[in-house]
Symmetry: C2
């Protein structure tokens, strides 16, 4: 894919290397989230511990990519499209790192609450998890191709995630009222659901950076419908 219009082949190679690193980081975060949800669902403490242990890898990648971006700005003095790409990357990795934190948080919950067993509470987090992981997967795909149409599609998926989250919340609240003795455990399930819901917001942020890079327009803080105007 032709990403820039600069003349330096070496510069191009450096930008490509950073982009590849972001996708590797994205892949790791996706795996962490998937493992964390699996650990929570199956009460797999070993898998949860692995997620917690591996969180530092995600953090390390954020720092490394950030440094590479600062270095390339100082050395290559990029402008226009190249500079937008670097800015988009700097912001994207912050959101990816925070999704990594969500994975670690869910893993902690799986470890500390040996049997929150959401099925017992007549609710399943699985559809919520599936939606969040799908959003992350799709936004990374849109990022890889810098595809604004795909980004706009992912952006809108957050409505479904929110609706699912609200349904889960409602169900858990009813269960709490009927079974006050289970409240501490149900709250753990609620925290997990809330953390998963926030993955959707993070993915939406990344959609905005993709559109910013390609179109040169900052589409943060608009209403959903307005995003289509900039694609």
């Amino acid at each position: 894919m032709h990403l820039g219009r600069h003349i330096s082949g070496q510069f191009n190679a450096e930008l490509e290397a950073i982009r590849t690193h972001v996708l590797t980081m994205g892949g790791l975060v996706e795996q962490q989230l998937s493992f964390a949800m699996q650990a929570l669902h199956k009460q797999d403490i070993e898998l949860a511990k692995k997620v917690v242990r591996d969180d530092h890898k995600v953090n390390g990648m954020e720092v490394t990519i950030d440094e590479a971006c600062t270095r390339i700005i100082a050395k290559r003095q990029p402008t226009a499209r190249d500079l937008r790409l670097i800015m988009a990357i700097i912001k994207t990795i912050t959101d990816l790192e925070r999704i990594g934190d969500v994975a670690a948080k869910i893993a902690y919950i799986a470890i500390e609450t040996p049997s929150p067993n959401e099925q017992k509470f007549q609710v399943s987090l699985e559809p919520l998890c599936r939606r969040a992981i799908a959003m992350l997967h799709q936004v990374l795909d849109a990022f890889a191709r810098m595809d604004t149409d795909a980004a706009a599609e992912v952006y809108k998926l957050d409505d479904d995630l929110d609706a699912e989250y609200k349904a889960v919340l409602h169900q858990l609240m009813l269960y709490m009222q009927e079974n006050p003795q289970d409240i501490p455990n149900i709250l753990q399930v609620m925290w997990s659901a809330q953390a998963i819901e926030r993955v959707g917001d993070r993915c939406q942020n990344i959609c905005e950076y993709i559109i910013y890079f390609v179109k040169g327009k900052d589409v943060r803080h608009l209403e959903n419908d307005d995003i289509d105007k900039y694609i």
Copy 2:
């Protein structure tokens, strides 16, 4: 304060203008947070509506400062200390904007739940609020002076905020178990407490950017105690 070693007076003036803009944004966010907490505490719906209405001002400032930073990179091609300052600013405004979101969220809760009246639930959010606002105030002060010692002090205050948050959570949980009929309202108070607790994390992030700018060292993802090594 002598912030850079560059020779261009005009460049210096541009950097100073951005820094001043960040402090203005910080002041607005502090006011928003303070008003939101006041609105929640006193059930002042009008004040809460004002906070929600004014959130777009915070968002607009983030976009404007971001654009100014990108422009200055393209035009002035900063390196070393100047570039670190711009990077620190780009990250700081993201956290300030999210603290603005917290204020808006608390204001929404104040509007949608006309009488969560935390006193009724034998818990007060006031000490938590006071701590969060104090942390924000102090970190903005540290940012204004680019004072790493002050940043390290603020960083450590988060432990107290966390402890206070956990105490509030525990109290609310007990109250829920005894009064299941109040659960929906208590959950609203819990969401508010959680949002306030997160202000502390955001302030810690800003501390890290101050240290990054002054010392040139990325101190994210370290343990609390390690931060002192870099001051």
